[in-house]
Symmetry: C2
């Protein structure tokens, strides 16, 4: 039995033939997970489906939290199967953008106070991490990415390489290599991740590279 | 044609039957990549093999850097195939440890000045990131992990959850859930990653969980 968000279920084309599928809309995560646990307690093998890596802003956390809250942890066996999250997928499409220390930060302040996010952006910029921004923009949230850019501009030059990847490793993938000065001129939405380079990151004609430090 | 470090080539058991294999020891990365480029320029299809994700402290960067340096970028088509890096693999074995903003930091000061690493540890601890430490200890490097612990203790309580995963998702995997106070009592080596929780991370009986913020 397969439980998941409709959009992601559709990506499973061909892999789940003959399986019972329960799908629902976005922001119904708690409901979906409760149902999955209920079905599992009733004796079914249940797979909760998440895009990317379920353990990175995905369904792993909520599933385990609910399991714990319902005291069902002892009665069910759970396996979290890791996957390729947008950071890794996007970095590979850009070249080798994450070859040195990096941070992953979600700009969504729906579940996290903006002050906490801002503090993390500041820390990432100051300590020269390559930084991957998840959920950079939504229909209702358009200011956070501008604020993030301002914070990075305090610590890094305008020419700092930035990579923008939409639909990373999915059909219709769009890869843009640009810089901190101009990256907001590009289309950025919820299917996009933004990678801001460290002081060591550079663009070649085809690739965005953060060197590891090897003497080449 | 397959090029890679001997230990990783051995993990490919069965996948590369009939292919020509060129393997070499560790710290011969530049040599291996040069050879791979040479073979590709001679007209072969060449796969450079890396463990985990080649784009995270792997072979992607050095390959693209060498390609650029040799001016061979225009003559070869290169694809970086992303993979599952230790951070993701270990987090899934621990439960859902990376469900919120995180940093990945290598403690190896072979190619990076220790001051830079320490600055990043400090920033990660202060801004309440979940933090994944790569290359925590080697035969010659045993002090860095102690220093990292001291830095985190300045900002987080001794009870902060820590997860230690050795051989993540490989045979002989070892998963330990402990805390900032006592985690150095465990065996830690180059096959190990150490995950230090944020202020929100907690252990249940079976899992290490960083909540996303959902109201469960």
């Amino acid at each position: 039995m397969i439980v998941g968000y409709q959009t992601y279920i559709e990506l499973l084309d061909g892999l789940i033939d003959g399986k019972e599928v329960i799908s629902s809309g976005m922001t119904r995560e708690v409901e979906r997970c409760s149902l999955a646990i209920e079905k599992a307690l009733a004796g079914n093998y249940v797979a909760v489906v998440s895009s990317g890596d379920p353990g990175i802003y995905g369904m792993a956390g909520i599933t385990l939290e609910l399991l714990e809250k319902q005291g069902a942890g002892d009665r069910l066996e759970v396996e979290i199967v890791p996957g390729i999250t947008s950071a890794n997928a996007a970095a590979s499409s850009l070249g080798a953008a994450l070859m040195h220390d990096f941070t992953v930060i979600s700009l969504s302040d729906l579940l996290t106070p903006w002050e906490v996010i801002e503090k993390r952006l500041e820390a990432a910029a100051r300590a020269d991490f390559v930084t991957v921004l998840y959920n950079p923009v939504s229909r209702k949230r358009t200011e956070q990415i501008k604020r993030a850019r301002e914070i990075f501009l305090r610590y890094r030059p305008r020419s700092t390489p930035v990579g923008i990847v939409r639909n990373a490793k999915r059909s219709g993938e769009e890869v843009t290599r640009t810089d901190l000065e101009g990256f907001l001129d590009n289309h950025i939405d919820m299917f996009t991740v933004v990678l801001i380079g460290s002081s060591q990151t550079y663009h070649t004609e085809k690739f965005m590279i953060t060197p590891r430090g090897y003497n080449v």
